[in-house]
Symmetry: C2
Subunit: 311 residues, 2 copies
Protein backbone atom coordinates (compact mmCIF):
# COMPACT_ATOMS: atom_id res chain seq x y z
CA UNK A 1 0.00 0.00 0.00
CA UNK A 2 2.70 2.46 0.97
CA UNK A 3 4.71 1.63 -2.12
CA UNK A 4 1.73 2.76 -4.18
CA UNK A 5 1.45 6.07 -2.30
CA UNK A 6 5.13 6.76 -2.22
CA UNK A 7 6.39 5.41 -5.54
CA UNK A 8 8.31 8.08 -7.40
CA UNK A 9 11.14 8.26 -9.87
CA UNK A 10 14.05 10.50 -9.03
CA UNK A 11 17.30 11.43 -10.72
CA UNK A 12 20.17 9.35 -9.39
CA UNK A 13 17.92 6.77 -7.75
CA UNK A 14 18.61 3.36 -9.31
CA UNK A 15 16.35 1.29 -7.03
CA UNK A 16 13.59 2.51 -4.72
CA UNK A 17 11.06 0.81 -2.47
CA UNK A 18 10.87 -2.98 -2.41
CA UNK A 19 14.32 -4.50 -1.89
CA UNK A 20 16.58 -4.78 1.18
CA UNK A 21 17.91 -1.27 0.56
CA UNK A 22 17.71 1.60 -1.89
CA UNK A 23 20.44 2.00 -4.52
CA UNK A 24 21.69 5.43 -5.56
CA UNK A 25 24.12 6.45 -8.26
CA UNK A 26 27.44 7.82 -7.08
CA UNK A 27 26.89 11.58 -6.70
CA UNK A 28 29.34 14.18 -7.99
CA UNK A 29 29.00 16.44 -4.94
CA UNK A 30 29.53 16.03 -1.21
CA UNK A 31 26.73 14.27 0.66
CA UNK A 32 24.90 15.83 3.59
CA UNK A 33 23.02 13.32 5.72
CA UNK A 34 20.59 13.74 8.62
CA UNK A 35 18.01 11.85 10.68
CA UNK A 36 15.18 13.24 12.75
CA UNK A 37 12.38 11.53 14.65
CA UNK A 38 9.01 12.76 15.91
CA UNK A 39 7.12 10.85 18.59
CA UNK A 40 3.43 11.15 19.41
CA UNK A 41 2.87 12.76 22.79
CA UNK A 42 6.28 14.42 22.68
CA UNK A 43 6.49 16.27 19.36
CA UNK A 44 2.81 16.26 18.44
CA UNK A 45 -0.65 15.26 19.58
CA UNK A 46 -2.88 13.66 16.99
CA UNK A 47 -5.94 15.66 18.04
CA UNK A 48 -4.21 18.88 16.98
CA UNK A 49 -3.18 17.73 13.50
CA UNK A 50 -4.44 15.79 10.52
CA UNK A 51 -2.65 12.53 9.70
CA UNK A 52 -1.33 14.19 6.58
CA UNK A 53 0.05 17.09 8.67
CA UNK A 54 1.84 14.58 10.90
CA UNK A 55 3.59 13.06 7.90
CA UNK A 56 4.34 16.44 6.30
CA UNK A 57 5.79 18.19 9.33
CA UNK A 58 7.98 15.29 10.46
CA UNK A 59 9.47 15.20 6.96
CA UNK A 60 10.02 18.97 6.87
CA UNK A 61 11.69 18.95 10.30
CA UNK A 62 14.33 16.60 8.91
CA UNK A 63 14.65 18.51 5.64
CA UNK A 64 15.33 21.70 7.55
CA UNK A 65 18.66 20.24 8.70
CA UNK A 66 19.73 19.96 5.07
CA UNK A 67 18.64 23.55 4.34
CA UNK A 68 20.79 24.68 7.28
CA UNK A 69 23.84 23.06 5.66
CA UNK A 70 23.11 24.69 2.26
CA UNK A 71 22.39 21.29 0.71
CA UNK A 72 19.87 20.34 -1.98
CA UNK A 73 17.64 17.50 -0.71
CA UNK A 74 18.01 14.34 -2.82
CA UNK A 75 15.94 11.49 -1.36
CA UNK A 76 14.64 10.07 1.89
CA UNK A 77 13.95 6.91 3.88
CA UNK A 78 11.14 6.86 6.47
CA UNK A 79 10.80 4.45 9.39
CA UNK A 80 7.37 4.40 11.02
CA UNK A 81 6.36 2.87 14.33
CA UNK A 82 2.62 2.24 14.29
CA UNK A 83 0.38 1.65 17.32
CA UNK A 84 -2.40 -0.91 17.04
CA UNK A 85 -5.12 1.75 16.98
CA UNK A 86 -3.79 3.34 13.79
CA UNK A 87 -5.79 2.12 10.80
CA UNK A 88 -4.72 1.78 7.20
CA UNK A 89 -6.44 5.01 6.13
CA UNK A 90 -4.44 6.93 8.72
CA UNK A 91 -1.24 5.27 7.56
CA UNK A 92 -2.00 6.16 3.96
CA UNK A 93 -2.66 9.80 4.93
CA UNK A 94 0.63 9.96 6.84
CA UNK A 95 2.47 8.57 3.82
CA UNK A 96 0.69 11.09 1.60
CA UNK A 97 1.97 13.92 3.80
CA UNK A 98 5.49 12.54 3.59
CA UNK A 99 5.22 12.15 -0.16
CA UNK A 100 3.86 15.67 -0.63
CA UNK A 101 6.57 17.17 1.56
CA UNK A 102 9.19 15.24 -0.38
CA UNK A 103 7.73 16.44 -3.66
CA UNK A 104 7.70 20.03 -2.38
CA UNK A 105 11.45 19.96 -1.78
CA UNK A 106 12.44 17.56 -4.56
CA UNK A 107 13.36 14.59 -2.35
CA UNK A 108 11.18 11.50 -2.86
CA UNK A 109 10.85 8.69 -0.32
CA UNK A 110 12.84 5.77 -1.78
CA UNK A 111 12.41 3.26 1.03
CA UNK A 112 11.78 2.75 4.70
CA UNK A 113 10.62 0.48 7.45
CA UNK A 114 7.37 -0.31 9.28
CA UNK A 115 7.19 -1.59 12.81
CA UNK A 116 4.55 -2.04 15.45
CA UNK A 117 4.98 -0.15 18.73
CA UNK A 118 3.18 1.54 21.61
CA UNK A 119 3.19 5.07 20.12
CA UNK A 120 3.28 6.52 16.64
CA UNK A 121 6.73 7.71 15.68
CA UNK A 122 8.19 8.89 12.39
CA UNK A 123 11.92 8.75 11.74
CA UNK A 124 13.06 10.47 8.55
CA UNK A 125 16.55 10.27 7.14
CA UNK A 126 17.45 12.51 4.21
CA UNK A 127 20.43 12.70 1.91
CA UNK A 128 21.33 15.99 0.28
CA UNK A 129 24.03 17.12 -2.09
CA UNK A 130 26.13 20.27 -2.18
CA UNK A 131 29.61 21.45 -3.08
CA UNK A 132 30.23 23.52 0.06
CA UNK A 133 28.29 22.66 3.22
CA UNK A 134 27.88 25.53 5.70
CA UNK A 135 28.55 24.50 9.30
CA UNK A 136 27.53 25.89 12.70
CA UNK A 137 31.08 26.97 13.35
CA UNK A 138 32.60 29.78 11.30
CA UNK A 139 30.71 32.90 12.45
CA UNK A 140 33.13 35.85 12.57
CA UNK A 141 33.11 39.01 14.70
CA UNK A 142 31.79 41.78 12.48
CA UNK A 143 29.29 39.50 10.72
CA UNK A 144 25.62 40.30 10.73
CA UNK A 145 23.13 37.73 12.01
CA UNK A 146 20.53 37.08 9.30
CA UNK A 147 17.22 35.27 9.43
CA UNK A 148 15.04 33.64 6.77
CA UNK A 149 11.54 32.61 7.77
CA UNK A 150 9.53 33.42 10.89
CA UNK A 151 10.29 32.80 14.56
CA UNK A 152 7.74 32.41 17.33
CA UNK A 153 4.76 31.98 15.07
CA UNK A 154 4.62 28.16 15.30
CA UNK A 155 4.80 28.29 19.10
CA UNK A 156 1.92 30.77 19.09
CA UNK A 157 -0.06 28.41 16.87
CA UNK A 158 0.52 25.45 19.19
CA UNK A 159 -0.55 27.56 22.16
CA UNK A 160 -3.72 28.64 20.36
CA UNK A 161 -4.54 25.00 19.56
CA UNK A 162 -3.95 23.97 23.16
CA UNK A 163 -6.17 26.83 24.36
CA UNK A 164 -8.92 25.93 21.91
CA UNK A 165 -8.83 29.36 20.22
CA UNK A 166 -7.31 28.25 16.93
CA UNK A 167 -10.04 29.66 14.71
CA UNK A 168 -9.64 33.29 15.79
CA UNK A 169 -8.41 35.23 12.72
CA UNK A 170 -5.49 36.65 14.70
CA UNK A 171 -4.00 33.20 15.24
CA UNK A 172 -4.84 31.46 11.95
CA UNK A 173 -1.41 32.20 10.40
CA UNK A 174 0.26 30.95 13.58
CA UNK A 175 -1.71 27.70 13.58
CA UNK A 176 -0.82 27.18 9.93
CA UNK A 177 2.85 27.82 10.74
CA UNK A 178 2.80 25.11 13.41
CA UNK A 179 0.80 22.60 11.37
CA UNK A 180 2.53 22.94 8.00
CA UNK A 181 6.07 24.23 8.32
CA UNK A 182 8.23 24.31 5.21
CA UNK A 183 11.95 23.65 5.14
CA UNK A 184 13.67 26.72 3.64
CA UNK A 185 15.55 24.83 0.98
CA UNK A 186 15.87 27.65 -1.57
CA UNK A 187 17.04 30.10 1.10
CA UNK A 188 19.53 27.50 2.31
CA UNK A 189 21.02 27.08 -1.15
CA UNK A 190 21.18 30.87 -1.59
CA UNK A 191 23.01 31.48 1.68
CA UNK A 192 25.52 28.75 0.84
CA UNK A 193 27.42 31.19 -1.39
CA UNK A 194 27.86 33.84 1.33
CA UNK A 195 27.33 32.52 4.84
CA UNK A 196 30.13 31.87 7.32
CA UNK A 197 27.92 29.73 9.57
CA UNK A 198 24.29 28.60 9.69
CA UNK A 199 21.78 26.71 11.80
CA UNK A 200 18.08 25.97 11.52
CA UNK A 201 15.80 27.26 14.27
CA UNK A 202 14.02 24.16 15.50
CA UNK A 203 14.35 24.59 19.29
CA UNK A 204 14.01 28.38 19.60
CA UNK A 205 16.07 31.27 18.22
CA UNK A 206 18.01 31.92 21.43
CA UNK A 207 18.91 28.27 21.91
CA UNK A 208 19.91 27.63 18.30
CA UNK A 209 21.82 30.88 17.75
CA UNK A 210 23.48 30.07 21.08
CA UNK A 211 24.66 26.76 19.59
CA UNK A 212 26.10 28.62 16.60
CA UNK A 213 27.84 31.20 18.79
CA UNK A 214 29.30 28.50 21.01
CA UNK A 215 30.53 26.41 18.06
CA UNK A 216 32.09 29.54 16.52
CA UNK A 217 33.62 30.96 19.72
CA UNK A 218 31.83 34.31 19.37
CA UNK A 219 29.06 36.32 21.01
CA UNK A 220 25.72 36.82 19.25
CA UNK A 221 23.62 39.96 19.76
CA UNK A 222 19.90 39.75 18.96
CA UNK A 223 17.96 42.94 18.13
CA UNK A 224 14.58 43.06 19.90
CA UNK A 225 13.16 45.58 17.42
CA UNK A 226 13.88 43.34 14.43
CA UNK A 227 12.21 40.36 16.10
CA UNK A 228 9.04 42.35 16.76
CA UNK A 229 8.60 43.52 13.16
CA UNK A 230 6.39 40.46 12.45
CA UNK A 231 2.88 41.92 12.68
CA UNK A 232 1.19 38.51 12.60
CA UNK A 233 3.33 37.32 15.49
CA UNK A 234 2.50 40.40 17.53
CA UNK A 235 -1.22 40.05 16.78
CA UNK A 236 -1.23 36.38 17.75
CA UNK A 237 0.71 37.05 20.94
CA UNK A 238 -1.66 39.85 21.89
CA UNK A 239 -4.66 37.59 21.37
CA UNK A 240 -3.05 34.85 23.43
CA UNK A 241 -1.94 37.24 26.17
CA UNK A 242 1.70 36.24 25.93
CA UNK A 243 4.91 38.09 25.10
CA UNK A 244 5.70 38.25 21.39
CA UNK A 245 9.38 38.63 22.26
CA UNK A 246 9.31 35.47 24.38
CA UNK A 247 7.73 33.58 21.50
CA UNK A 248 10.29 34.93 19.01
CA UNK A 249 13.26 34.13 21.25
CA UNK A 250 12.19 30.80 22.69
CA UNK A 251 9.43 29.31 20.52
CA UNK A 252 10.49 26.31 18.45
CA UNK A 253 9.35 24.41 15.36
CA UNK A 254 9.34 27.29 12.88
CA UNK A 255 12.35 25.92 10.95
CA UNK A 256 13.69 29.35 10.13
CA UNK A 257 17.34 29.66 9.11
CA UNK A 258 19.81 31.77 11.11
CA UNK A 259 22.98 32.69 9.28
CA UNK A 260 26.17 34.59 10.05
CA UNK A 261 27.38 36.60 7.08
CA UNK A 262 29.36 39.75 6.37
CA UNK A 263 27.06 40.59 3.46
CA UNK A 264 23.29 40.78 3.03
CA UNK A 265 21.67 37.64 1.60
CA UNK A 266 18.55 37.78 -0.58
CA UNK A 267 15.58 36.37 1.34
CA UNK A 268 17.17 37.06 4.73
CA UNK A 269 16.70 40.04 7.06
CA UNK A 270 19.16 41.19 9.71
CA UNK A 271 18.15 40.35 13.29
CA UNK A 272 21.45 40.70 15.09
CA UNK A 273 25.22 40.86 14.97
CA UNK A 274 28.26 38.78 15.81
CA UNK A 275 31.11 40.13 17.95
CA UNK A 276 34.01 38.85 20.04
CA UNK A 277 33.07 37.15 23.28
CA UNK A 278 30.75 34.33 24.28
CA UNK A 279 27.06 33.73 24.85
CA UNK A 280 23.98 35.66 23.84
CA UNK A 281 22.92 39.27 24.36
CA UNK A 282 19.58 40.95 23.70
CA UNK A 283 19.75 44.58 22.51
CA UNK A 284 16.64 46.61 23.43
CA UNK A 285 15.82 50.31 23.38
CA UNK A 286 16.89 50.38 27.03
CA UNK A 287 20.30 48.81 26.42
CA UNK A 288 21.75 45.30 26.38
CA UNK A 289 21.09 42.34 28.66
CA UNK A 290 22.39 38.75 28.76
CA UNK A 291 20.02 36.19 27.31
CA UNK A 292 19.58 32.63 28.53
CA UNK A 293 18.34 30.03 26.06
CA UNK A 294 15.05 28.56 27.19
CA UNK A 295 13.95 26.79 24.05
CA UNK A 296 12.04 23.58 23.70
CA UNK A 297 13.84 20.70 25.37
CA UNK A 298 12.64 17.12 25.58
CA UNK A 299 15.04 16.18 28.34
CA UNK A 300 15.56 17.03 31.97
CA UNK A 301 18.66 14.95 32.64
CA UNK A 302 21.64 17.34 32.78
CA UNK A 303 23.79 15.11 30.60
CA UNK A 304 21.13 15.05 27.91
CA UNK A 305 20.29 18.71 27.91
CA UNK A 306 22.97 19.92 25.47
CA UNK A 307 22.10 18.96 21.95
CA UNK A 308 19.08 16.95 22.96
CA UNK A 309 17.82 16.91 19.41
CA UNK A 310 21.13 15.79 17.91
CA UNK A 311 23.86 13.54 19.22
CA UNK B 1 28.06 12.18 26.38
CA UNK B 2 27.13 10.16 23.30
CA UNK B 3 29.56 12.11 21.16
CA UNK B 4 32.33 10.92 23.49
CA UNK B 5 31.27 7.26 23.20
CA UNK B 6 30.65 7.35 19.48
CA UNK B 7 33.33 9.70 18.17
CA UNK B 8 35.30 8.01 15.41
CA UNK B 9 37.15 9.03 12.31
CA UNK B 10 36.29 7.29 9.10
CA UNK B 11 37.48 7.48 5.51
CA UNK B 12 35.25 9.70 3.45
CA UNK B 13 33.55 11.31 6.46
CA UNK B 14 34.23 15.06 6.43
CA UNK B 15 32.04 15.98 9.41
CA UNK B 16 30.59 13.71 12.07
CA UNK B 17 28.54 14.25 15.21
CA UNK B 18 27.74 17.80 16.33
CA UNK B 19 26.28 19.81 13.46
CA UNK B 20 22.87 19.81 11.77
CA UNK B 21 23.93 16.92 9.55
CA UNK B 22 26.90 14.73 8.72
CA UNK B 23 29.00 15.56 5.64
CA UNK B 24 30.47 12.81 3.47
CA UNK B 25 32.82 13.00 0.52
CA UNK B 26 31.35 12.10 -2.83
CA UNK B 27 31.87 8.33 -3.17
CA UNK B 28 33.20 6.69 -6.32
CA UNK B 29 30.79 3.73 -6.14
CA UNK B 30 27.03 3.32 -6.05
CA UNK B 31 25.38 3.96 -2.69
CA UNK B 32 23.23 1.40 -0.91
CA UNK B 33 21.00 2.88 1.80
CA UNK B 34 18.78 1.26 4.41
CA UNK B 35 16.89 2.03 7.62
CA UNK B 36 15.72 -0.36 10.28
CA UNK B 37 14.06 0.22 13.65
CA UNK B 38 13.74 -1.95 16.74
CA UNK B 39 11.12 -1.18 19.38
CA UNK B 40 11.07 -2.42 22.97
CA UNK B 41 8.25 -4.88 23.60
CA UNK B 42 8.08 -5.72 19.88
CA UNK B 43 11.62 -6.62 18.80
CA UNK B 44 13.18 -7.13 22.20
CA UNK B 45 12.51 -7.17 25.94
CA UNK B 46 15.10 -5.48 28.10
CA UNK B 47 15.07 -8.25 30.71
CA UNK B 48 16.45 -10.71 28.12
CA UNK B 49 19.35 -8.55 26.94
CA UNK B 50 22.05 -6.24 28.21
CA UNK B 51 21.82 -2.59 27.15
CA UNK B 52 24.93 -3.13 25.06
CA UNK B 53 23.25 -6.12 23.34
CA UNK B 54 20.25 -3.92 22.52
CA UNK B 55 22.51 -1.39 20.80
CA UNK B 56 24.59 -4.03 19.05
CA UNK B 57 21.78 -6.15 17.63
CA UNK B 58 19.69 -3.22 16.40
CA UNK B 59 22.75 -1.99 14.51
CA UNK B 60 23.51 -5.42 13.06
CA UNK B 61 19.91 -5.90 11.93
CA UNK B 62 20.26 -2.78 9.76
CA UNK B 63 23.74 -3.74 8.56
CA UNK B 64 22.43 -7.10 7.39
CA UNK B 65 20.41 -5.31 4.70
CA UNK B 66 23.65 -3.94 3.25
CA UNK B 67 25.28 -7.38 3.33
CA UNK B 68 22.30 -8.73 1.38
CA UNK B 69 22.96 -6.16 -1.38
CA UNK B 70 26.70 -7.05 -1.52
CA UNK B 71 27.62 -3.60 -0.21
CA UNK B 72 30.46 -2.54 2.07
CA UNK B 73 29.07 -0.63 5.07
CA UNK B 74 30.38 2.95 5.20
CA UNK B 75 28.78 4.87 8.08
CA UNK B 76 25.58 5.16 10.11
CA UNK B 77 23.15 7.54 11.81
CA UNK B 78 21.19 6.38 14.86
CA UNK B 79 17.93 7.89 16.17
CA UNK B 80 17.01 6.82 19.68
CA UNK B 81 13.70 7.27 21.48
CA UNK B 82 14.33 7.11 25.22
CA UNK B 83 11.71 6.47 27.92
CA UNK B 84 11.98 8.40 31.17
CA UNK B 85 13.07 5.33 33.15
CA UNK B 86 16.22 4.88 31.05
CA UNK B 87 19.20 6.36 32.86
CA UNK B 88 22.42 7.78 31.44
CA UNK B 89 24.41 4.62 32.14
CA UNK B 90 21.97 2.58 30.11
CA UNK B 91 22.13 5.11 27.29
CA UNK B 92 25.91 4.97 27.32
CA UNK B 93 25.85 1.16 27.20
CA UNK B 94 23.44 1.21 24.26
CA UNK B 95 25.71 3.64 22.42
CA UNK B 96 28.69 1.42 23.22
CA UNK B 97 26.92 -1.53 21.62
CA UNK B 98 26.18 0.55 18.53
CA UNK B 99 29.76 1.78 18.38
CA UNK B 100 31.19 -1.73 18.77
CA UNK B 101 28.89 -3.12 16.09
CA UNK B 102 29.87 -0.28 13.79
CA UNK B 103 33.53 -0.92 14.45
CA UNK B 104 33.06 -4.66 13.79
CA UNK B 105 31.77 -3.97 10.29
CA UNK B 106 33.76 -0.81 9.54
CA UNK B 107 30.84 1.66 9.67
CA UNK B 108 31.09 4.27 12.45
CA UNK B 109 28.13 6.23 13.78
CA UNK B 110 28.57 9.76 12.39
CA UNK B 111 25.43 11.38 13.80
CA UNK B 112 21.91 10.85 15.00
CA UNK B 113 19.03 12.09 17.05
CA UNK B 114 17.72 11.73 20.60
CA UNK B 115 14.09 12.03 21.57
CA UNK B 116 11.97 11.28 24.56
CA UNK B 117 9.12 8.79 24.14
CA UNK B 118 7.04 6.10 25.85
CA UNK B 119 9.18 3.12 24.78
CA UNK B 120 12.80 2.60 23.87
CA UNK B 121 13.33 2.42 20.12
CA UNK B 122 16.44 2.42 18.01
CA UNK B 123 16.36 3.47 14.36
CA UNK B 124 19.57 2.83 12.42
CA UNK B 125 20.24 4.09 8.92
CA UNK B 126 23.33 2.87 7.12
CA UNK B 127 25.04 3.85 3.91
CA UNK B 128 27.12 1.32 2.04
CA UNK B 129 29.12 1.37 -1.17
CA UNK B 130 29.47 -1.15 -3.95
CA UNK B 131 29.95 -1.36 -7.68
CA UNK B 132 27.24 -3.94 -8.37
CA UNK B 133 24.40 -4.30 -5.88
CA UNK B 134 22.68 -7.70 -5.84
CA UNK B 135 18.88 -7.47 -5.74
CA UNK B 136 16.10 -9.81 -4.65
CA UNK B 137 15.04 -10.29 -8.24
CA UNK B 138 17.31 -12.11 -10.66
CA UNK B 139 17.21 -15.74 -9.44
CA UNK B 140 17.25 -18.07 -12.46
CA UNK B 141 15.87 -21.59 -12.93
CA UNK B 142 18.83 -23.94 -12.61
CA UNK B 143 20.51 -21.88 -9.89
CA UNK B 144 21.34 -23.38 -6.56
CA UNK B 145 20.03 -21.77 -3.38
CA UNK B 146 22.98 -21.03 -1.09
CA UNK B 147 23.11 -20.02 2.55
CA UNK B 148 25.74 -18.28 4.69
CA UNK B 149 25.21 -18.27 8.44
CA UNK B 150 22.75 -20.19 10.58
CA UNK B 151 18.96 -20.34 10.49
CA UNK B 152 16.68 -21.16 13.42
CA UNK B 153 19.33 -20.83 16.08
CA UNK B 154 18.35 -17.29 17.17
CA UNK B 155 14.69 -18.29 17.47
CA UNK B 156 15.76 -21.24 19.64
CA UNK B 157 17.75 -18.86 21.82
CA UNK B 158 14.80 -16.52 22.29
CA UNK B 159 12.58 -19.44 23.19
CA UNK B 160 15.13 -20.67 25.75
CA UNK B 161 15.31 -17.21 27.31
CA UNK B 162 11.52 -16.99 27.48
CA UNK B 163 11.36 -20.44 29.08
CA UNK B 164 14.05 -19.54 31.61
CA UNK B 165 16.36 -22.37 30.47
CA UNK B 166 19.01 -20.21 28.83
CA UNK B 167 21.96 -21.56 30.82
CA UNK B 168 21.60 -25.17 29.70
CA UNK B 169 24.72 -26.02 27.64
CA UNK B 170 22.56 -27.26 24.76
CA UNK B 171 21.04 -23.79 24.21
CA UNK B 172 24.01 -21.53 25.00
CA UNK B 173 25.01 -21.16 21.31
CA UNK B 174 21.40 -20.41 20.46
CA UNK B 175 21.08 -17.72 23.13
CA UNK B 176 24.31 -16.16 21.91
CA UNK B 177 22.98 -16.21 18.33
CA UNK B 178 19.87 -14.30 19.39
CA UNK B 179 21.67 -11.82 21.65
CA UNK B 180 24.65 -10.98 19.46
CA UNK B 181 23.95 -11.57 15.79
CA UNK B 182 26.55 -10.44 13.28
CA UNK B 183 25.79 -9.03 9.84
CA UNK B 184 27.55 -11.23 7.26
CA UNK B 185 29.36 -8.41 5.54
CA UNK B 186 32.34 -10.39 4.21
CA UNK B 187 30.06 -13.12 2.87
CA UNK B 188 27.91 -10.44 1.25
CA UNK B 189 30.86 -8.90 -0.55
CA UNK B 190 32.04 -12.34 -1.67
CA UNK B 191 28.68 -13.34 -3.14
CA UNK B 192 28.47 -10.04 -5.00
CA UNK B 193 30.74 -11.43 -7.72
CA UNK B 194 28.62 -14.52 -8.41
CA UNK B 195 25.06 -14.22 -7.12
CA UNK B 196 22.03 -13.65 -9.32
CA UNK B 197 19.82 -12.60 -6.37
CA UNK B 198 20.16 -12.32 -2.59
CA UNK B 199 18.21 -11.55 0.58
CA UNK B 200 19.01 -11.54 4.27
CA UNK B 201 17.05 -13.89 6.48
CA UNK B 202 15.56 -11.63 9.14
CA UNK B 203 11.97 -12.88 9.22
CA UNK B 204 12.50 -16.62 8.66
CA UNK B 205 14.05 -18.59 5.80
CA UNK B 206 10.74 -19.59 4.20
CA UNK B 207 9.35 -16.06 4.28
CA UNK B 208 12.51 -14.38 2.99
CA UNK B 209 13.33 -16.94 0.29
CA UNK B 210 9.67 -16.64 -0.65
CA UNK B 211 10.21 -12.89 -1.18
CA UNK B 212 13.19 -13.63 -3.42
CA UNK B 213 11.30 -16.25 -5.42
CA UNK B 214 8.34 -13.93 -5.88
CA UNK B 215 10.50 -11.00 -6.95
CA UNK B 216 12.34 -13.27 -9.40
CA UNK B 217 9.28 -15.08 -10.78
CA UNK B 218 10.64 -18.54 -9.92
CA UNK B 219 10.00 -21.41 -7.53
CA UNK B 220 12.41 -22.13 -4.68
CA UNK B 221 12.96 -25.66 -3.34
CA UNK B 222 14.40 -26.03 0.17
CA UNK B 223 16.21 -29.25 1.15
CA UNK B 224 15.16 -30.50 4.60
CA UNK B 225 18.32 -32.56 5.04
CA UNK B 226 20.59 -29.55 4.48
CA UNK B 227 18.70 -27.49 7.05
CA UNK B 228 19.06 -30.19 9.69
CA UNK B 229 22.83 -30.50 9.36
CA UNK B 230 23.29 -27.90 12.10
CA UNK B 231 24.04 -30.05 15.17
CA UNK B 232 23.72 -27.14 17.60
CA UNK B 233 20.29 -26.28 16.22
CA UNK B 234 19.13 -29.88 16.54
CA UNK B 235 20.48 -30.11 20.11
CA UNK B 236 18.78 -26.86 21.13
CA UNK B 237 15.49 -27.90 19.52
CA UNK B 238 15.62 -31.27 21.27
CA UNK B 239 16.20 -29.61 24.62
CA UNK B 240 13.35 -27.18 24.01
CA UNK B 241 11.01 -29.90 22.75
CA UNK B 242 10.35 -28.14 19.44
CA UNK B 243 10.92 -29.03 15.80
CA UNK B 244 14.38 -28.12 14.49
CA UNK B 245 12.93 -27.94 10.99
CA UNK B 246 10.27 -25.46 12.11
CA UNK B 247 12.93 -23.30 13.68
CA UNK B 248 15.11 -23.44 10.57
CA UNK B 249 12.24 -22.64 8.23
CA UNK B 250 10.37 -20.04 10.26
CA UNK B 251 12.67 -18.68 12.96
CA UNK B 252 13.84 -15.10 12.40
CA UNK B 253 16.61 -12.77 13.53
CA UNK B 254 19.60 -14.91 12.52
CA UNK B 255 20.60 -12.53 9.70
CA UNK B 256 21.87 -15.30 7.47
CA UNK B 257 22.22 -14.59 3.74
CA UNK B 258 20.29 -16.58 1.12
CA UNK B 259 21.64 -16.36 -2.39
CA UNK B 260 20.70 -17.68 -5.81
CA UNK B 261 23.75 -18.63 -7.86
CA UNK B 262 24.72 -21.04 -10.62
CA UNK B 263 28.12 -21.59 -8.99
CA UNK B 264 29.28 -22.45 -5.47
CA UNK B 265 30.29 -19.45 -3.35
CA UNK B 266 32.99 -19.69 -0.66
CA UNK B 267 31.41 -19.42 2.78
CA UNK B 268 28.00 -20.58 1.54
CA UNK B 269 26.46 -24.08 1.57
CA UNK B 270 23.70 -25.29 -0.72
CA UNK B 271 20.28 -25.58 0.95
CA UNK B 272 18.02 -25.67 -2.07
CA UNK B 273 17.47 -25.03 -5.75
CA UNK B 274 15.65 -22.63 -8.05
CA UNK B 275 13.34 -23.85 -10.82
CA UNK B 276 10.52 -22.56 -13.03
CA UNK B 277 7.24 -21.91 -11.27
CA UNK B 278 6.15 -19.97 -8.23
CA UNK B 279 6.15 -20.29 -4.47
CA UNK B 280 8.08 -22.51 -2.11
CA UNK B 281 8.54 -26.27 -1.89
CA UNK B 282 10.15 -28.40 0.82
CA UNK B 283 12.00 -31.51 -0.37
CA UNK B 284 12.12 -34.29 2.24
CA UNK B 285 13.11 -37.95 2.12
CA UNK B 286 9.41 -38.70 1.55
CA UNK B 287 9.05 -36.36 -1.42
CA UNK B 288 8.06 -32.72 -1.93
CA UNK B 289 5.38 -30.59 -0.28
CA UNK B 290 4.30 -26.96 -0.64
CA UNK B 291 5.61 -24.66 2.05
CA UNK B 292 3.77 -21.68 3.49
CA UNK B 293 5.82 -18.86 4.99
CA UNK B 294 5.05 -18.42 8.67
CA UNK B 295 7.90 -16.18 9.72
CA UNK B 296 7.92 -13.44 12.28
CA UNK B 297 5.35 -10.76 11.48
CA UNK B 298 4.66 -7.64 13.50
CA UNK B 299 1.33 -6.93 11.83
CA UNK B 300 -2.07 -8.47 11.64
CA UNK B 301 -3.71 -6.02 9.25
CA UNK B 302 -3.92 -7.72 5.83
CA UNK B 303 -2.66 -4.66 3.99
CA UNK B 304 0.40 -4.50 6.22
CA UNK B 305 1.27 -8.16 6.18
CA UNK B 306 3.37 -8.23 3.00
CA UNK B 307 6.72 -6.60 3.52
CA UNK B 308 5.95 -5.56 7.06
CA UNK B 309 9.61 -4.93 7.78
CA UNK B 310 10.18 -2.83 4.66
CA UNK B 311 7.95 -0.45 2.75
Amino acid sequence: MLARVLAARAPGVTLGIGDDAAVLEAPAASLVWTIDEQVEGVHFRRELLSWRDIGWRSFMAAASDLAAMAAAPWCALCALVLPDDLDDLALEAIATGQRDAGAAIGAPVVGGNLSRGPALSLATTLLGRCNHPVLRRGALPGDGLWLAGRVGLAAAGLRALEQGSATDPSVVPAVEAWRSPGALVAEGLAMGQLAHAAIDVSDGLARDVGHMAEASGVQAVLFEAALLEDAELVAAATHLGVSALDLALHGGEDYALAVSSSAPIPGFRQVGAIRPGAGLVLRTAAGEQPLEPRGFDHFTSPSRRPGASGL
